[in-house]
């Protein structure tokens, strides 16, 4: 399996915020979910991949090609959906298609028309009259019609209702049926990524906090719910973070099988991506 995207030791210093030594790989035929709290560095990472900002260090290759040295060819292989839809208000969907047909070498107008029909965007409405969901569907249809091999989506599903999100996730899953295709998607909505992603990279304060195969992460991490006295007896090295409340305690266990062997009396439930994100991000909280 070839890698669609390789990011290694990426860094970008803004002074107040630093993206520090970020590395991850997106193999072909897979979806990588990029998660993290606001300001964790997700958009900065995506901007570096798209060469929208200058990186201070590191390497980025897309299908083995350097994203700066072979920028034009690399961008011809990437379909993009950014966090907001940036088409002019006065444009109609078909006009957006005609504009992008002049920009993308592999643009497929018939495919774009099919998506417009599928997403019910064939009317005379302009972008200004679209809801956020419709705008996102337009951007996603445009990204697919560029016939990319790598799809990059920055918070593309946020603000969409669950029905539309589900519809779009199905499109993503269909897209990666081709082993030569891959998706990098950043999202706050971890339930979407639990459904669709094969790999997860969690960015925290500009660094990779957790990265790996989603199923492996969900299988390894666990959530401990216990009393304060029980938590005090647990070896802290086994925990990634904990929360002490008035009526009980919760903690993220790094390896739930190893934990169960050592503390058989304590119950550890499977953790969700949100648990991993919240506990790792907050550490120990009272």
């Amino acid at each position: 399996m070839n890698n669609a995207l390789e990011v290694s030791h990426l860094s970008k210093d803004y002074g107040a915020f630093k993206l520090d030594d970020v590395s991850f790989t997106v193999p072909g035929g897979t979806i990588m979910g990029l998660i993290g709290e606001n300001g964790a560095g997700k958009s900065t990472t995506i901007k570096c991949i798209l060469n929208l900002i200058r990186r201070d260090g590191g390497e980025i290759t897309v299908f083995g090609r350097d994203n700066r040295k072979e920028e034009r060819a690399v961008k011809g292989d990437i379909g993009v959906v950014l966090d907001e839809v940036l088409f002019h208000d006065v444009l109609r969907p078909r006009q957006v298609g005609k504009i992008l047909a002049g920009l993308y070498p592999n643009w497929d107008m018939a495919l774009f028309d099919r998506y417009l029909e599928k997403f019910d965007l064939t009317g005379k409405k302009t972008v200004k009259e679209f809801s956020r969901g419709m705008k996102m569907k337009l951007a996603i249809g445009a990204a697919f019609a560029a016939k990319p091999r790598l799809l990059i989506l920055d918070e593309a599903t946020s603000g969409l209702d669950p029905v539309v999100r589900d519809e779009i996730l199905d499109e993503f899953l269909e897209f990666i049926q081709d082993e030569d295709h891959a998706i990098l998607i950043s999202s706050h909505i971890t339930s979407d990524l639990e459904k669709a992603a094969d790999y997860i990279t969690y960015l925290h304060n500009g660094r990779v906090a957790v990265s790996g195969a989603k199923d492996e992460l969900l299988d390894t991490y666990g959530k401990l719910v216990c009393g304060r006295s029980e938590l005090e007896q647990v070896d802290r090295a086994l925990l990634a973070g904990s929360r002490v409340g008035q009526f009980g305690c919760e903690a993220l266990v790094k390896d739930r099988r190893a934990f169960a062997r050592r503390y058989p009396a304590l119950t550890v439930d499977p953790a969700t991506l949100e648990d991993i994100m919240v506990f790792t991000g907050k550490g120990d909280a009272q």
Partner: protein, 214 residues
């Protein structure tokens, strides 16, 4: 590039239509004898300056450049597209202005000879090219809102300077005389300066965009 040109034309369709109404209205005034036909030449400058500026303003509003930079067009494509669009606007408005003025002159509606009217069109197009060469790097660096101040200052310096110079000459102020060969070559020199300035401006804008972060 083709896509970027098409985008500029489509998003500015409304404004271009409004400007065309201006041409019809001013043309009517000229036929009625209110204005001289040379005012059509001034409209070339109005088109050549306001349309590219509006195009940048609309791109700023929708943050289009962030998206365009992520496409294969990239930063170079965005700059090249804007300069090509500006050239096209000047060329088309210059041609249209010339055709209208010469047509009306040949129809006997103007006393100004056609050759002089062609000269007026060419001069206006050349001045517009030079002004755009000055304005475009500011537009692309600071955006349409902030660059408006620069455009106002440029207009005041150039047109104010021309009026001042004309006034001084009319009032008999002794101006240094240009050598006759230079005076004869002045239109060609000015055209070369404008074209060279536009090319230099393009290179400067490419440099600005290469450093820009989206």
């Amino acid at each position: 590039m083709k896509g970027l040109l098409y985008k500029d034309i489509v998003v500015l369709k409304k404004q271009i239509s409004t400007l065309l109404i201006f041409v019809v209205v001013y043309g009517g005034f000229c036929v009625a004898g209110v204005f001289d036909f040379s005012i059509i030449g001034a409209l070339i400058a109005v088109f050549g300056l306001t349309i590219p500026m509006s195009s940048v303003a609309l791109d700023d509003t929708s943050h289009w450049d962030r998206y365009a930079a992520a496409t294969p067009a990239g930063r170079k494509g965005i700059v090249a597209g804007k300069y090509l669009f500006t050239l096209l606007v000047i060329l088309i408005s210059g041609l249209a202005g010339t055709v209208i003025m010469v047509g009306l002159s040949l129809a006997g509606l103007s006393d100004t000879p056609p050759v002089e009217l062609v000269g007026i069109s060419l001069s206006c197009a050349t001045v517009t090219l030079l002004l755009d060469a000055i304005l475009l790097p500011f537009l692309l660096k600071y955006g349409a809102e902030k660059a408006r101040v620069v455009s106002m200052i440029t207009f005041v310096i150039i047109f104010g300077g021309a009026i001042l110079l004309g006034g001084m000459m009319n009032n008999g102020v002794n101006m240094p005389q240009l050598p006759s060969w230079l005076a004869a070559a002045l239109p060609v020199v000015f055209a070369l300066v404008s074209v060279g300035g536009f090319a230099l401006s393009f290179a400067v804008s490419l440099g600005i965009y290469a450093r820009k972060e989206f």
